[in-house]
Amino acid sequence: MMQPKNSLLDLSAIRARLENARGEEYWRSLDEVAQTAEFQAFVDNEFTPGTSEWKNPLGRRDLLKLLGASIAFAGLTACTKQPPEKIVPYVRAPEDMIPGKPMYFATAMTLGGYAAGVLVESHMGRPTKIEGNPEHPASLGATDAFAQASILTLYDPDRSQVVLRNGLISNWAAFLAEVGLLREGLLAKEGAGMRILTETVTSPTLAQQLKDLLAEFPEARWHQYEPAARDSAVGGAKLAFGEPVNTIHRIGQADVILSLDADFLASGPGSVRYAREFAARRREGGDRMNRLYIVEAAPSSTGSIADHRLPLRASDVEPFAWAVAAALGVAVPAPGSPAPSGWVEAVAADLKKHAGSSLVIAGDQQPVAVHALAHAINAALGNAGKTVVYTEPVEAAPVEQGESMRQLAEDMRAGRVETLVIIGGNPVYNAPADCEFRQGLLKVKRRIRLGLYDDETSGLCHWHLAETHYLEGWGDARAFDGTVTIQQPLIAPLYGGKSAHEVLAVLSGKGELAGHDIIKEYWRGRLGEAGFEKTWKTALHDGLIAGTAVAPKNVSVRKDFAAALPAPKGQEGMELCLRPDPTIWDGRFANNGWLQELPKPLTKLTWDNTVLISPATAERLGVANGQVLELRRAGRTVRGAAWILPGHAENSATVHLGYGRTRGGKIAEGPGFSAYPLRTSDAPWGGGGLAVSKTGATYKLACTQDHHSMEGRDLVREATVDEYRKDPHFAQHVVHGPVKELSLYKEFKYEGHSWGMAVDLNACTGCNACVVACQAENNIPVVGKTEVARGREMQWIRIDRYFKGGLDDPEVCHQPMMCHHCDHAPCEVVCPTGATNHSSEGLNQMVYNRCVGTRYCSNNCPYKVRRFNFFLYSDWDTKSLEPMRNPDVTVRSRGVMEKCTYCVQRINSARIESEKEGRRIRDGEVVTACQAVCPTQAIVFGDMNDPNSRVAKLKKDPLNYGILDELNTKPRTTYLARLRNPNPELKKG
């Protein structure tokens, strides 16, 4: 009960300070006090499950270790022999596989049905790392965090590994037999009572299979449902154009962008590509620099890089859209805008000024009306065909899935469903609460489920079939622009799973067909015999089938669309705002340790979801971080811990979906709370009438950044475009660094290569892809919630997030922070064993096997980018994880320090190749994992001795600055200062 008091004092103190502060004032942490209390609590109960002690209990291994230790103390370690090792060569060597050299295969990962092309690195037939596919329109060589982490899901030991019948282990043959009987019954009554439930389907093959099946069983029905479906996009298009169309944005063409609660840079189909195009326009600085307005409730990655961000309750976005539309002469009534005076006008004016090169984007979580209005505004501005393009739908059957699910549930409850086949998804967990899916499901006589995990849904099904991971089975899928990718397996199903295609083949009586044949036959039919084999091979090689993008089509906004719009209903009291989680999405990644431990872009919380509220609201409710709130809406309640997020809209509480899983993996079960009970089919993304009450309980949260202010230190340097024009070198003038060569010693010369990195703060959206990419590339372990809370997270890249400016509407900056490889490295000087020192190419190299673990280097690192194995964090026991590890990187053991190596394994292989060819390493030949994955290309790595390398050029850029270089550490990683392009009309008050 001390906490709220403290934090309230804190808040009001901050207010006081901000009021009499002139200009940009940096403010302090919200919850140091709470934090200390919390940390105390953590260290008090060390042995709670999830801590590493729990992970390696005192067992055989530990005793052996103790034994080893005691022997060591006897001074004999040097004499201990390695255990004999076996070499196991092939019996028949596979084609063109060279042991010790990785191979790359193109395939695609789908999220919400939409494909993102990837290249998968494979060592001796073991996929180990995901890279983007440069050929693929949705990737352009980058990926998001989900794709990076999907490799861990592939090897996840918790994935379901057997066929289950009524929860007991059965087998595939038994299922085939069952299906035989089933089909007889169905054929008799033309499939009546048969339902198939899938997630969003873009796969042409799967669509065809479903079509055939429905043709065979006319009475059967196909439903689609997934929580993060784009219903309002579909509905909005229907409203505006009378037909569902697919909307593609040409972000690169847009000078002015208005985002209506759309996190288009970080989530949704095409976001990776959008981010790339957006950043390209930012980077140019000068006149070509674009401008982004965003109105949203909870700060998002997109919001954090916007030039103007207006915190509005999600429900107030619609009135705002009305107002903008009206101001731009769209024939709609103009209700009072919730925005501060001048906002709508300024935005409208700016959009008008750039008619044809402006863009309005509606968020997937906004109601249909907002989408319709967005279409109308874009039409009015003449953006259609320029910055926004409409095409045939990419989805095989674009339906409003909420409705589809509602009907299914209704039929089930009414007993009209006899057989339900659930392909993927997890409806029992994530169907809207009012559908009472569970109760309905129990009325169904025959329930068949194909899923990656034995989860909540499988628990209630008669049959559970293990599904193949996308890296295990054949398939196909479309990207946001319709481009088709053939998904090819990298490895035979680890747990003998089956793909949706194979299961559907069985259902439609074709018996056991191999996924490969199903896909290939479909496309043979589609593309025709002529030269098919060649096309097929190229398709597999390139990772896409050329010319399969859906055709653009001309649509015009219906005159009377405004009339059809449901009137915006004003929200009374507090509003609930549901969103997919930034790291585990709708819950499908809940068992992925990398994503669970990934700090959320804005809150830096790990392992949990929270009730996000604004400081003012917190003050009004008298809650502090970690206090458990009870949320009640439409007669349903959930309990979750509060987290105060500056910049959140007032009277609104944002809750991320996907947590509170009760079944489906050791990691998934436990963390957070499920917000699905608050989800209704009429208000899938929440709505008004939310009652919030304190429970008095508090909940431990693991946050990786306790302090949110820069304390007036010039860490992130930024300026507006105008200031930049006046003084391009502003970033270098902030701090008076040391005089060049301020050293008693002669500087080392780095002939040959001299590696360096530049990070463009102007492009970083804090999307976290680099963090996971690094984790995958460098075998970085997961440590668990308790260890994170004790400040022991292991990710080599830490994306620092700072707030500045007002408490209610702060500006947000992201700053990726990894080892700076200082030429005057403070860490090296203090290492007693020389385990960390400088290479002749300027790398700050870390020799794990020489490290005795004094932690002195970390203490002396001004950037605190070193990570220490306080316990045996790397999982040496789980067999299934072994093939996942990068064979070129040591798996660290207990008691050693580790840190970013600039992906030295990649540098070495490039050096060896170049030396064999007797040449220098070319620019771009060494690409670090973080650089490769970055959607906005914010990270550039290369040889600073090569004057033509990108990095060398960037180092000469006026925006380039080294952080803390007044300490004369001579960091090799430097930053490009951030530029903002605010609208002069909208000076912050």
Binding site: S70, R713, E787, V830, T854, R894, V896
Partner: protein, 467 residues
Amino acid sequence: MEAEQRQDPGAAAVAATRAGEVPVIGPGHTYASVTGKISEIVLTTKTPRGWIIGFAISFLLTMMLLFTIASLLVKGVGLWGINIPVGWGFDIINFVWWIGIGHAGTLISAILLLLRQEWRTSINRFAEAMTLFAVACAGLYPLMHMGRPWLGYWLLPYPNTMGTWPQPRSPLVWDVFAVSTYATVSLLFWFVGLIPDLATLRDRTKSRPLRVVYGMLSMGWRGSAIHWQRYETAYLLLAGLATPLVVSVHTVVSFDFAIGIIPGWHTTVFPPYFVAGAIFAGFAMVLTLAIPLRKFYRLEDFITMRHIDNMGKILLATGLIVGYGYLMETFMAWYSGSQYEQYMISNRMNGPYQGYYWALIFCNILTPQLLWFSRFRRNLLALWLISLVVGVGMWLERFVIIVVSLHRDFLPSSWGMYHGTKYDWSMYIGTIGFFLALMFLFIRVLPMISIFEMRTLVPEPDGKAKH
């Protein structure tokens, strides 16, 4: 006739007046009485109950220490509260604390010997013992704080199959040399001092096995004049060597921090103020031990009020130096104009750990001021309590320097908090138990006061004070 003279209290008084205002040895003592009184504590007195209880307790604590060490070896230093950014916690705090305490012994023996402060005679023996045991405790920490303690020997330079060597720019390697040298020299110094007394025990003990043991230890010492000659030279030279050594050791320890770039570490004032702090803590510990010992073993004649008083004065003086150190830290932070330094100080005073800082000021600066008054210097209880408070204060000082500097350094994003876990505490209390156990053993089996040096303080039978 001579016999009377020997008993003549006047003679003692004369000696006393020569020796200085208050005598450093009670009146009426003869060579025989000195020899007898001190050696009987070891030889004839049957083990007092107090000793048995005390030793039992400290032995149990030692067992707890062993358990903690075992768990650390099995599971790893993660059992402690350390994290990133606070990579050092109780481990290094206690290391510095112990090593600081370990400074008083050599200081008393060496420096006061060179300064001809003969009052040192009656306290140097167990002060040296204390030094050894404190250094032993201190030595545990740098070893156990490592992530992989079994590789600790990598810090020593020796030819190996890897062709690698320690990195001599690291203060930790300096520590290895400084601390091990210090331990060795202190041991030698202590042992050399013991030789003649071991001979005395050899000659006085009734039991044959003991005679053999003491005989071996005394290496056949027979008090030959020529031996005495070389002996004293060696002893004096050792003192001369130990004096710069003792200063260098804590200087090197202070380098562990001063070499770092962390605000609150990177300070040139550290060496002198660490050394002063060490003496401060050391004398506090000597008092903490001396006052009870004096009482239980009735050593009032040998550890006179003059000793107590002098040590009180030294406590005050070193306390003031330490206070000056704190002052300069603050001043320099302001004067440097570096925002990091300034934030460091303000964070100490108003940050989450301000309690520790102000407690430290109270213990190390305010409390010792009482010693300006002889009333407190001569009141045993008061002095004992003050010495305890100082001991606590010096621990807090190291906490503030290490933890409070680390937990908020340059990038606010990396800031964190630190709290000792039960393993931190069990290790700390365990070493205290270990230290006391050794101390108890020492006073039981070895003369806790240098007999032969006490003899030199005894007025000569024919009335000439000898020295």
